[in-house]
């Protein structure tokens, strides 16, 4: 019930932030309405960072505590992060065409490292499908999740470290946090959008986590079911009832061991 309230709250805040960014705040003098994409673009990138950092931390959690609930959190973070990375790239491209004059430039460090980020975490999700042993899968995913996280600061600081087409952060660099290079109403619109998507992210994370836990239970049940049916079919075809033979082989003083020796002859 609390999660549902959070979900509706997030939806309402996203709607409010969208209205604010689209109709209340004026567009940038030079870029025009294309600038409004920035609110969603920056917010998507923030959620992508947040998700992948959570995935990395949950990976450490699994490696240290060996509790599969950490792995469920890691999965949720990676899936949501991939969606929002794709959204950030898509929004950026929609903005870049009217302002820069091109959708994409491969050699730009920010664009290229972000594309790499998307590829890394799609790889992470594919890797998770390679094993049906939940513990082995969790370990592999944790290691790859930690390695892939190295790209997060590279993406963020690429615009400061290297020369490229993408502009430096307006708010997100250490010297700009208190002196953003934008009017306060733009800052307010962005902060509201950041709050809105973070609430939505929290809701999505909880729901995806719950789903992942259910999937684990299903997987477990399926495995037990397979085990049971395999035992049953062996029991049906084998000349001797294996289950009974195993039972008989166990040290039980009242029973004879002759039936257990039979298949050996």
């Amino acid at each position: 019930m609390r999660t549902r309230i959070l979900g509706f709250g997030a939806l309402a805040t996203v709607a409010l932030a969208a209205m604010f960014g689209l109709f209340v705040v004026p567009a940038d003098l030079n870029q025009g309405d294309a600038q409004r994409i920035m609110y969603v673009h920056v917010a998507s990138a923030w959620i992508a960072y947040l998700s992948f950092i959570v995935t990395a931390l949950a990976g450490i959690g699994w490696l240290v505590r060996r509790d599969l609930r950490f792995d469920a959190v890691a999965l949720a973070g990676a899936e949501i992060g991939v969606i929002f990375t794709a959204l950030a790239i898509w929004g950026g491209m929609m903005w870049a065409r009217p302002v820069w004059g091109t959708f994409w430039q491969w050699e730009d460090p920010r664009l290229t490292t972000t594309a790499l980020l998307l590829a890394l975490y799609i790889g992470y999700l594919l890797l998770r499908r390679l094993s049906d042993d939940p513990r082995r899968r969790a370990t592999r995913a944790a290691v790859v999740g930690l390695v892939a996280a190295v790209d997060i600061p590279i993406v963020h600081f690429s615009v400061i470290w290297w020369r490229g087409l993408h502009q430096a952060p307006t708010f997100g660099s250490p010297d700009r946090l208190l002196h953003p290079a934008a009017p306060m109403q733009f800052v307010a619109a962005l902060l509201l959008m950041l709050l809105a998507v973070t609430l939505a992210w929290l809701y999505l994370m909880i729901r995806r986590y719950q789903l992942a836990r259910l999937e684990t239970l299903l997987e477990e049940a399926a495995r037990l079911g397979r085990l049971r049916s395999a035992r049953a079919s062996v029991a049906r075809t084998a000349p001797v009832d294996i289950t009974a033979a195993v039972d008989a082989a166990a040290p039980q003083p009242s029973r004879s061991t002759s039936s257990a020796e039979e298949p050996a002859r």
Binding site: W100, T112, L165, P183
Partner: protein, 131 residues
Amino acid sequence: MLAVAAVVAVIAYFALSGVGNALVYYLTPSELLARGDRAFDETVRLGGLVKPGSVSGPATDLRFVLTDETHEIPVHSTVAPTSSFRAGVGAVVEGRLGRNGVFEATQVLVKHDENYVAPSPGAVPSHIVGS
């Protein structure tokens, strides 16, 4: 583990090649001119500020000067840039420097900076002021 090693290798390649300056998105006018004879007839990207007062001609036969405050290179382009192109803005052009010293651009990209301006009474978009 092999997959992990591959991922590490890719990231290391990106990080090192960037630090090693192999990952330079564009050259400044000073850097291009410093190449001497090798500067000519090679396709490169050139970036700088559009020198105020240097923009002339229609959008499909555009002439302007790119400067890094030290050196400047005249640019000629037959492809129209976006409407955000104006004097004083950062621009990245792709093409080659001719022997006559004029850079023939096949693409003009406008490099937007991180500053935003809200409209206020009397304020005019700077692309109207600039050119």
